[in-house]
Structure formats: C-alpha cells, structure tokens
C-alpha cells in the first residue's frame, strides 16, 4: 500500500474512532448514572490507544503494534456496549469486550519491534489468545439470546441472563484465574527484560514495564476482588479507582507510542551527529557525541596511533580496546589491517543494529572527510610551495643572465671602448682626420652597444634591486617615468630576493598601466612593513575604471603576488583614480 493510500485508510479509521468513541461511551449512561469525569476517562482510554496505533501505523508501517493498538482501542469501546439497551448489541458486546486485555498483552509482548520472537513470549501470547477465545465461545453459547429481537429490559430476558451469569460464575473465576496467571507471567518477562537491559536498552523497556504493571495489576485486583473476597463483601468498584486506572492506561498508550517512535528521535540524533562530525572532532568530543547519539553513557572510543602502533582512549592513555563479545560490542572504523577508530558500546545496542550502523557510517564519513581534507591540504601546500619555487627559480635565472651580460659582453665592450680611446691618443694630434673620424665613429658605436646591453640587462633583471634594494629600485623607476611619481619608501631593511623582485615587478607593471591608460598627472608609490608583510600601494589621480579581469598586466600582477601567498586589492572607481594595494608575506630572511 502506498503512503498516500495508507494515510487515507488511517484517516478514515481515525474519523471512525472520533465518532465511535463518544457514541460507545454514551452507552454507559443508558443503564446507570455516570459522572462526566468517568465518561471522559473512558473515551480517553480508547482514543489514546487508537491514536497511538494510528501514529505507529503511519510512521512504522511494517510494525504490527500499530494495527494491534488500534484493535485494542476499539475493543475498549466495544466494552461500553454491554450497557446498551438493545439486547443483541449488549450480548455481542458482552461476548467480545474481554478481548481488550489479551490484545493489550500482545502489544506488550510485541513491543517494540512488532514481532514476538522469544519462545516464552510466544507461549504467553498463545495462552492469552487461547483462554480469551475459549471464554468467548463459552459466553457466546451460555448467554445466547432467546430471540435476537428480545427486549433486554423484559423480565424474561433479565431472568434468563441472570441465571446464565450465575451458572457461568465458576467458569468465569477459572478464566480470571488463568488470565491473572498469564499476566503475572507477562509481568515477570517484562521485569526480567528491564532488569537485564542496561543504559539505552533499559530506557526503551520502561514503557512496557509500566504497561505490564498496569495490566497485571488490573488482573490481580479483579482476581482478588472476584475470588478471594467473600461474595457478600463485594462492593461496586469505586468510580475514582476506575478513573485512575483509565488515566494509567492513557499514560501507558502514550509511553508505548514514544517507545516505538524513539527510533525517530534516534534518527534525529544521528542526523545531529552527522552535522556535528563535520570535520573529525577531538576524541573526547567524538566520544561524547556518540554517547549522546546512541544513548549509551558507557560507550568508549579508541584511536589508533599509527606512529606509536597503539590505541589511546579519550583521555590520551594508551589502552588495549576490549574484544567483541558478551561484555562489550566492538566496532572498528577503517580496515582490519589499518584501523582508525574502535568504538566499544553496550551490547544491548545490538538489538538496534540500524542505529549503531548509522552512527558508525557518520563516523566513517567524518574519518574519510578528514583524510581527504588532509590530502587536499597537503597537495595544496605542495602546489603552493612549488609555485613559489618556480617564481624564485625564474628570478634567480634572470639575475644570473643579467650578471652574465654584465661580466661578459659588457666588460668586453668596455675594454674595447677604452682601447679605442687609447688608439685615439696613440694617433697623436697630427693624425689623418679621416682615420680619427673613423675611430670616433667606432667609439660612439661601442658606447651605443654598451647602452643597449645595459638597457637589455635592466629589462632582464634590474641590478639596482640586487645592489641597492627595493627603495632605490622604485626611485629609479620613478626617475624614468614620464610623469611625477612620488616614492615613499618606509622599509628599514632588505627583504628576501623574491619579495623584492615581485614588489618591483608589481610596481613597474602598475606604473606602466597608470601611465598608459589612466591619464593620471601624478602617481604615488608607497612601501612599508607591517605584521611581517611588505605592503605596496600604487595610486594615481587618473580616470579610474580599471578592471582586474581586464588586461594581462593586472593578471600578471595577481599571478606573481599569489605565487608568494600575497594578496592584491584593486580599487578603481570611475573618475576617482586607481589604487592598487599589494601585501606580500616576508618572514625575516
């Protein structure tokens, strides 16, 4: 049956119970005066059982406790019809209404899974059903109406039924005796279950303990009243006691409902656990979360310390986790060869394998997440480090090329130039003017070559950066710029080569951009150190509107800065100039 069909059927049953309950209770007033409190208590018992059954049937469709509880509730209401003034109704109600208690017993025995599996439990269930069935047959025969349309208040009917009741009394006592015995057996089973359970499992058994006490208590009271007290001493059961018993039954129905649905609450706690395990918490916190989620205060978590090849508990002490067995249930997270965590819990939780495996899955997920995160972090660290190394290697290479140019070609050209000067002197004042002119042309050519190589070398790597530091290099940049560039250099020490080179590159790129695109009349360059970071601000008074995504210059800046783990901020609103703020981490070299 689909969920929506089930809802319709359950809704219909609920509506029927809503109407049937008051109608049944109303029957009580047909033959006697009843107080409103008693009527209210009567309807409450039936309704609470039916409501509990409906909710269980809705939330736990596979659990037979739902339909059983609904049936029990209706059996309760059927009892009210014994007071009907229609003979046949009263007769049928009298025959059937005794089923309330045996059905209630079945609910207790089937709690919480809806199945009766243990042999003793089955024997008790069969006993209840057999006794009640026998009694039903006996009553049905003994009380059979003379005619279905008999008037129940007619003298003939009353006489006949009174006689039949009296004749049945010995059998009725046997029936009460048997059911009382069965209910004592049931109480014993329930108490044994409660006593042997511990922790989470014990609290789950509490509703049936209560229910068992109410059921057995009712039977024992009836038995005592019916069998042991002298017939002459029989008093009608006081209304107050009836109401109290009814309230107890309502309580039992609610307790049963909560007990069966506790899986829902447990699922909620598992969901909480999953949320809380976003990232594997420290062991004590993990243990507390698991204890909470599984309702097992005895639960322990042990972590495998791979480096030490041992387990430690939540307090950090090295321990040997218990073995899986009768005393403790043990669960390993990770593989048998490479355990990560071991969870030891109350063996009673084995009754609820779904709950434990859900919690274990949550922990497994957290462990796996932790491992993946660590992997990603390690990879990211490796990539970041290698990117920084690439930039550094590139800087080193450029520095080397600049030095080679300087030490090689440049020196040779310098020597050549000086030789030409020497030659000019050797020729003396009376030399051939054509030769002198030729010599001076060669000298000028050599000077131009020297200038070219200087320019080339500066493009590869500015020697001033290595020789004089970032401040001087920025000053040199400013001097060569075609518009006023004001350098405010607040650095008081040299910085690592890659930091200086990156800052210089960024400043040069920003100046180039500002000069080309901003239409600025003045550019400010400021450097300072704060919190082990080199800060570089380049701001202009141009038209603004520069875009980070626009132009390879800014992309190049971002790449260079990011390679050293630095940050770039660009502020460039239309008409308000452009301001580039760069921060580069530079722990003391």
């Amino acid at each position: 049956m689909s969920a929506s069909h089930r809802r319709i059927v359950l809704g219909a049953i609920g509506l029927a119970a809503l109407a049937f309950g008051p109608f049944a209770t109303y029957q009580l007033t047909r033959t006697a005066e009843r107080s409103p409190a008693l009527l209210l208590a009567d309807v409450a018992v039936g309704w609470s059982m039916i409501a509990a059954g409906l909710i269980i049937a809705d939330r736990r469709p596979g659990n037979r406790i739902g339909p059983l509880a609904i049936l029990t509730g209706f059996a309760w209401f059927v009892g009210d019809f014994t007071s009907s003034d229609i003979a046949v109704v009263s007769y049928l109600a009298t025959v059937v209404h005794g089923w309330f208690d045996p059905l209630f017993a079945l609910v207790i025995l089937a709690y919480p899974s809806g199945r009766i599996t243990r042999r003793l439990d089955r024997a008790l269930a069969i006993g209840f059903v057999a006794v009640q069935a026998g009694w039903t047959v006996v009553q049905a025969y003994a009380l059979r109406p003379i005619a279905w349309w008999d008037c129940p208040t007619c003298i003939s009917t009353v006489d006949r039924w009174t006689a039949a009741y009296t004749a049945l009394d010995p059998l009725g006592r046997i029936e009460t005796f048997l059911l009382t015995g069965l209910s004592i057996g049931l109480l014993a089973v329930v108490v044994a279950r409660w006593v042997s359970a511990s922790g989470a499992a014990r609290s789950r058994q509490t509703p049936v303990l209560l229910a068992g006490l109410v059921l057995a208590g009712g039977f024992i009271a009836t038995f005592v009243w019916q069998t042991l007290l002298p017939t002459s001493g029989r008093e009608p059961v006081g209304e107050l006691r009836v109401i109290l018993l009814a309230l107890l039954r309502v309580l039992v129905a609610i307790a049963l409902l909560i007990g069966v649905l506790r899986d829902d609450a447990a699922k909620g706690r598992i969901a909480d656990l999953v949320v809380r395990l976003d990232g594997l918490p420290p062991l004590p916190l993990l243990q507390a979360s698991l204890r909470d989620a599984l309702g097992d205060p005895s639960l322990e978590v042990y972590r495998w310390e791979g480096a030490m090849a041992r387990f430690t508990d939540a307090t950090g002490r090295p321990v040997t986790p218990p073995a899986d067995g009768a005393a403790r249930a043990v669960l390993t997270i990770g593989t048998a060869d490479a355990p990560e965590l071991v969870i030891a819990h109350d063996p009673a939780l084995r009754d609820d394998p779904g709950l434990v495996s859900a919690a274990a899955a949550a922990v497994r997920l957290a462990v796996e997440n932790e491992r993946l995160q660590a992997e990603v972090r390690a990879q990211l660290d490796a990539v970041t480090a290698s990117r920084a190394r690439i930039v550094e290697a590139q800087d080193d290479e450029r520095r080397r090329i600049e030095r080679d140019l300087h030490d090689g070609a440049q020196q040779r050209l310098v020597s050549l130039q000086l030789s030409l000067q020497m030659l000019r002197r050797d020729l003396g004042p009376d030399a051939d003017p054509a030769a002198v002119a030729e010599l001076e042309a060669a000298s000028a050519e050599a000077a131009a070559a020297i200038a070219d190589i200087r320019e080339l070398a500066r493009g590869v790597h500015p020697a001033i950066l290595t020789e004089s530091g970032l401040g001087a290099a920025l000053g040199s940049l400013a001097d060569r710029a075609p518009l006023p560039v004001v350098v405010t250099d607040e650095l008081d020490r040299r910085l690592p080569g890659s930091v200086e080179a990156t800052a210089y590159f960024v400043a040069a790129e920003a100046l180039t951009n500002a000069i080309k695109h901003s239409g600025a009349s003045r550019i400010d360059l400021r450097t300072w150190l704060a919190d082990d970071q080199l800060h570089l601000d380049v701001s202009d008074d141009g038209r603004g509107g520069a875009d980070t995504m626009n132009g390879t210059g800014l992309t190049g800046i971002q790449d260079r800065v990011a390679a050293l783990g630095g940050t770039v901020r660009l502020e460039s609103r239309d008409g308000q100039g452009t301001r580039l703020e760069v921060a580069l981490p530079c722990a003391s070299p």
């Binding site: 500066r458 001087a472 040199s476």
Partner: protein, 122 residues
Amino acid sequence: MTRPTILVIDDHGGFRATARRLLEHDGWSVIGEAVDGETGLAAAASLAPDVVLLDIGLPDVDGFVVAERLATGADAPSIVLISSRDPETYRERVRTSPAVAFLSKHELDGTALRSLLGLTAS
C-alpha cells in the same frame, strides 16, 4: 711637476692593463694594481697613492666597504668608484660613500679625471 700617483683596484685584468696605458698616457703614475678588496687595501697602505681607482663589483669585498675602510686613515687617498654598470644602479650608495666621484668604466679619461680632482695638468 711630479705625476699624481694612482692605485687601480679591479678584478678584470684586461681593464687594468688598458686603464694603466690610458692613465700613464694622460700623465698619471700608476704605482700599483690589485685584483680584490683585501690586496687593494694592503697595497693602498704600503703605497700611499694620491688616488685609488676602485671597482664596485669586487670578488671578495664590496667596493663601498673598501671605500669606507680606505677613508678611515689619516692620510687617506681620494677614492674614485668605477663600474661598468649604470651609475643609476648605485644611486644613494655612491652619494653616501666617501668616494669623491663615480665613473663609468668606458668613460675613463685621465685628463678628465685630473681636472675632476682638481689636479693640474703636467
């Protein structure tokens, strides 16, 4: 009139040889050559030249450091820094050093050097 004396400190042999010929031609007396900072300092102490032509990029000690140490003596020589690099490269360091002048190597000229130092021609 005696020729002014000069000590050339430069690690580049080719440059030293050319510079010697050029300076001698322009009326200087090159009384010594040194290939690095330490031997340069020792030579300056023993030879007491009027002028030291000092390369900035020396293999052992930075030329600026050598200049500082040369300048501490009572009878300190005039120091002229030379480099094949653009003077722009050294900016403040040249300005704050005890050197009296900076020359690009390829612009070396004994006559110009003498007038720069206020020494009369021979």
